[in-house]
Symmetry: C2
């Protein structure tokens, strides 16, 4: 495959040319231990200090507020656990949105296992938290609130500044707000009002192995790890100066380019958002169409196994990702799509590089319809959808999808709902947990009525659940 | 400074040419997310798997026992805390040697602060633990024992295999042994019998930002951090594939070179160990002369401020390090030298690179005597040492060194002990904590009798301690 269009910068970004150049130079100039007093050590220290000033300036922080971590996950973990420890006397309650990155959710789970309490604030169908609702989740014993700057799966930008303003209204002992800026750093201005900020260099074109944790002066912080004298006592261990230098250099370069390319990227994403539903039947573009990352777009294809479609796209020269259950190693549905109440199956996330061309996007739009059709072909779905309505009936049509994995229960429903007349009931028996999310989501998309869940035993099954649907159109 | 001899590889090592080449190649070939299923992701996964096999083979582990961390400190912290959590039901007692790296001691302190118990096993004057004494510190509630492969300040190799054999004698529920192999990995074969092994790539010529944590199959491990699906659930966060590839490539290259260069390095260190005491008066070479790292040698110069000597050596083109209090940022005496009972002041650690030449070592030996003399000159010590003995006296000579920082109390003692006759007492009043270690160490070196410590009030002082010395020669 000579020409691959890499549309997955939200996972990781190839090293920016500026980062590559800076990295190679710093391997020669900044390899020594910056804690040493001899010449090469002093030189490494100077480079480290300069990188810290650059990153601080780009992120709107003071240099002494910025610590370099070994990655975005460490920044999130240290930031959350350090802030929680720092405010332990206030309480152990943590507020976060339901659509945070898994590193935030895993840390929250650990906090809960250690005796903390959590409130997960839901989002609307576009994936956005309501600022007032988020702020209202804060209690007298809340130690920390965590909110992403923008969602990593659907691109929706969160109302961070509004939330921060509401929290700040509580005065000097306000609940600190940790902002996970991993998806937006280098692409959009940092939202105002953060108390702690986490970011990851390889998401903006810097090298892997570098994250940023900024802690505003005055925010109480007590490291969860054994500390040493490195990084102001916040991040233990030998710092990777060459990679840090490259991360800082590329952040500055990318910020400038991102401003130049913002309109171009937004236009390409707009084209994808508009054209995909015109080109591919039964598709839903998800995420906020306006308040979004400039370069990221996600859509879900009904009756499509996401993993199979990604594999077809790979063969056609497109590297893309998915929040779909079928491509993750854990086989659980995307918690982001579930929280939004949209279909968790068959989804495709495109995150475009800064140097993407219109021609690449056009080629994607040209090949996508056939690839989706190819994936759907074995399901024989066209025939089923086109089937004439059967005679009216009173007893529900029972579709037995027990033992069938997602997306088969929804596909069965789609194929057979035409067998009943409008107004008649259908019951789907299924034991794949994803059906609980997908069947209501499918009903909403297709304008059918979802009427709830009943014990499977009511329909003679010994396991799973019964999902009650009524054909309305 | 065109030609600098970098004699501080125990702090960090310039990138090995093989590592540099592998890093730059892997920035192109292994930049993608190894968890992704598209072509570039699969390629990164293949490189990561190959690197794991290489490191496993070099360290005598199985690939599935090896996890890559973000550095040696993280390997130690995760290894210790993960093993302690894994055996929490057995107990919370931790055994370690008194001369472990600060990352081990900081983690032990954190464990103690969280309710654990510690036993620190002392070392002999060469810095070596006694295997039987170490193993005897294990109790029924001991969860973990930690022992370095070789000491980072004085190069003494520890009896890891003997300790491991003694622990293994307890049978299948034996106490696991974590071996901190940071200073020896790539230089010496890995000692037999480890349960967990920690190492750091930048110490062997790999890039910064890569460590290794190996956990033997069957050893219980429960991560102290929130985990994800990366690195077998042991190390969370996005892995730095290009750096890991470079680390593995350089480990293999360095192991081969280290075997070739072993005799050469040992001979150069032997030359330094023999010549320095002949060239410089009042110097003590510390650490085990036989059971030692091939490339590391440490000596202490009496009446020398370590920081000033390091600065003079830097100007003369030698980058060296020190465990001396005066060069660390914390101004506490080296815990290693203190545990050995040797002078904690004025010491110099040389750790030679693989490509060091005899000419460089000879140049070091040529410049050292004058530099030490230059540093000592302002103290006017020669005059004092040469002073004739005063008449015999019964009341002790009281030397008031209150308010004077190390090494001034010892210097005062050395200057003035000649004022009393052999057999007469001298009292040093001092309030710098380092005097408690340095005065007995000085007495042992100089063949004077140290007779213990008395309340400073006995000699009319309102603070500090009184150190009782008797001139014997």
């Amino acid at each position: 495959m000579a020409n691959v269009s890499y549309f997955d910068v939200a996972s990781t970004t190839p090293l920016h040319p500026v980062a590559r150049q800076a990295l190679i130079a710093a391997l020669d100039e900044g390899w020594a231990d910056p804690a040493r007093l001899y010449r090469s050590g002093r030189q490494a220290r100077m480079l480290l200090d300069a990188a810290r000033r650059t990153v601080a300036e780009e992120l709107g922080a003071r240099p002494d507020e910025v610590s370099f971590t070994t990655g975005g996950t460490q920044a999130v973990q240290l930031g959350m656990l350090g802030a929680l420890r720092g405010r332990r006397r206030t309480g152990r309650h943590l507020v976060h949105s339901a659509v945070e990155h898994s590193s935030v959710l895993h840390t929250a789970e650990r906090h809960e296992a250690d005796g903390g309490e959590l409130t997960s604030v839901g989002v609307d169908r576009l994936g956005r938290v309501d600022a007032a609702r988020f702020a209202a989740a804060v209690r007298p014993d809340t130690a920390l609130a965590v909110l992403q700057s923008a969602n990593h799966e659907v691109g929706t930008v969160q109302p961070v500044a509004e939330v921060a303003a509401l929290l700040a209204a509580a005065g000097p002992d306000r609940v600190p707000l940790l902002v996970d800026a991993a998806q937006s750093a280098g692409r959009l201005p940092v939202p105002a009002g953060w108390s702690l900020l986490a970011a990851s260099a390889h998401k903006w074109g810097g090298p892997a192995g570098v994250g940023v944790l900024a802690v505003r002066k005055g925010v109480r912080f007590n490291s969860p790890l054994p500390v040493d004298e490195r990084e102001g006592g916040r991040v233990p261990g030998y710092p990777n100066v060459p990679a840090i230098v490259a991360a800082a250099a590329s952040l500055r370069a990318v910020r400038a380019e991102a401003r130049e390319r913002d309109a171009h990227l937004r236009a390409l994403v707009e084209r994808i958002r508009a054209r995909v539903p015109q080109l591919v039947p039964e598709v839903e573009v998800v995420g906020d169409p306006v308040h979004r990352l400039p370069h990221l777009v996600t859509f879900s294809c009904l009756y499509v196994d996401g993993e199979v479609l990604l594999s077809e796209l790979d063969r056609a020269g497109f590297a893309v990702s998915s929040g779909s259950s079928c491509t993750s190693s854990t086989l659980t549905p995307s918690h982001v799509l579930a929280a939004m109440g949209v279909l968790t199956e068959g989804n495709v996330r495109l995150s475009l590089p800064l140097d993407v061309t219109s021609a690449e996007v056009d080629r994607f739009l040209a090949v996508l319809p056939d690839l989706v059709a190819t994936v759907r072909a074995p399901l024989g779905l066209e025939l089923a959808v086109a089937a004439p309505p059967a005679a009216a009936r009173q007893a529900p049509l029972v579709i037995d999808a027990l033992g069938k994995r997602c997306p088969l229960p929804v596909i069965e429903l789609a194929k057979r709902i035409g067998e009943v007349a409008p107004g008649d009931p259908v019951v789907v028996l299924a034991d794949d947990e994803a059906a609980r999310l997908d069947i209501p989501a499918w009903c909403e998309m297709r304008g059918q009525a979802y009427e709830g869940e009943a014990p499977a035993a009511d329909f003679g099954a010994d396991r799973g659940s019964a999902y009650l649907v009524r054909r309305t159109s």
